[in-house]
Symmetry: C2
Subunit: 203 residues, 2 copies
DNA sequence: TGTACATCAGTGAACGCGCGTTCACTGATGTAC
DNA sequence: TGTACATCAGTGAACGCGCGTTCACTGATGTAC
């Protein structure tokens, strides 16, 4: 493919190239030089758009958190039709995101980026996390006021289980030999958990 | 510290040095050269004991799986005093292991080692996983035969939630600002889950 | 007990490699007149 | 419509660095006699 001296949209092309490389080689295998090469450009050209390797990686993660938050909000759908259905939908959305945007997912959760070094990243991440907590908060009000755990606690439970299912059973790593599709596994796990909260009939 | 021409126990010294480095720099930041330096030895000396960098890393992981399996078996305690208590203990053991052996944990779960390239590693890992599945199997027999999920499924749920709690709330990464200690968070999550299975009274 | 010798763990120098980053530059683009 | 010029995105060569790995070697250890 030919192109002139100027690329046109190099910044996003580099982000896209980085995503491809992360999917293929993992977040640690991604290098600035390879991303430049994939975008058909000299490594030095990258510095017109990013401060360096980490900055490019951070932009990938930032775009990931944006997509993630949007997807969660869409799934949450303002708590309709019911608080329960909306909450379950956000759980599914977590896994759907990891499935559909594996490069972003790895940049966000497996790249070892420091939130301290990238405050804007922390901000965007908090927005995404906020959706799930909001859903938990709303669901919480359908529970008997006595003996209900804090909303932030069971949003953390669902988040942890979703994350664990993705890491252990959707990605090739350790225990990949689960007999169940990750989606089914998570669905069942969330169901049992919500039953334990008294939010679903005891079967 | 002085030592002669021969080290004495270089093999294990290298493993220990690798563990330190992994804890400090993460599994990707670990290098053969630094491990050799930490053991007060030339990089080339490493090749007397390991085939190369990956082989050293794999040995760290293998020792980790050994410790992990032993710890799980100890926690399981042959299903005593009750199947339920034993199952809960294995859940706690997962987190205790991650807390106590962070270097091993990272080599096992975050280093990106391929099980295909290290079959003995896969074998040891399967042994560790077997303990949890065995505990789940035994617990499963205390449930009404109708409508109980497969044992391998809810052992996967517990494993996923444990893993998620460790990754998200115990290690510095993304959502580190949980208000709850990871141990309490997991304890509560497993409790709710077991209640959902009908194995604990509905509160 | 002493000596010759085989073993082999660790040395030190060297290698090629790809990395991230810098620098002075070049040439395409688009605007002012 | 045409020309001069400022802008700035991308070039190409170079850098220093630390990596994993190799090789011929050296010197400590321990065993055979």
């Amino acid at each position: 493919m030919k192109r002139g001296y100027h690329h046109g949209n190099l910044r996003q092309a580099l982000v896209d190239a980085a995503l491809d490389l992360i999917v293929q080689n993992g977040p640690q295998g991604f290098t600035l030089s390879e991303a430049a090469k994939a975008a058909d450009v000299t490594p030095a050209a990258v510095y017109r758009h990013f401060a360096g390797r980490d900055d490019l990686m951070a932009e990938v993660a930032r775009q990931g958190y944006d997509i993630f938050a949007a997807l969660m909000e869409f799934a949450y759908n303002d708590g309709k039709p019911t608080a329960l259905a909306a909450f379950e939908a956000t759980g599914r959305a977590y896994l759907a995101f990891a499935r559909k945007y594996p490069g972003h997912y790895q940049a966000m959760f497996e790249s070892g980026l420091s939130f301290n070094a990238h405050p804007d990243l922390a901000f965007t991440a908090a927005r995404a996390r906020g959706v799930l907590e909001q859903a938990a908060e709303q669901l919480s009000q359908h529970m008997p006021a006595t003996r209900r755990p804090p909303a932030s606690m069971f949003s953390a439970h669902i988040w942890a289980m979703s994350h664990g299912v993705v890491e252990l059973f959707m990605r090739g790593t350790p225990g990949a030999k689960s007999a169940f599709p990750p989606e089914d596994l998570l669905e069942a796990g969330i169901g049992i958990y919500l039953r334990g909260l008294g939010l679903l009939p005891p079967e």
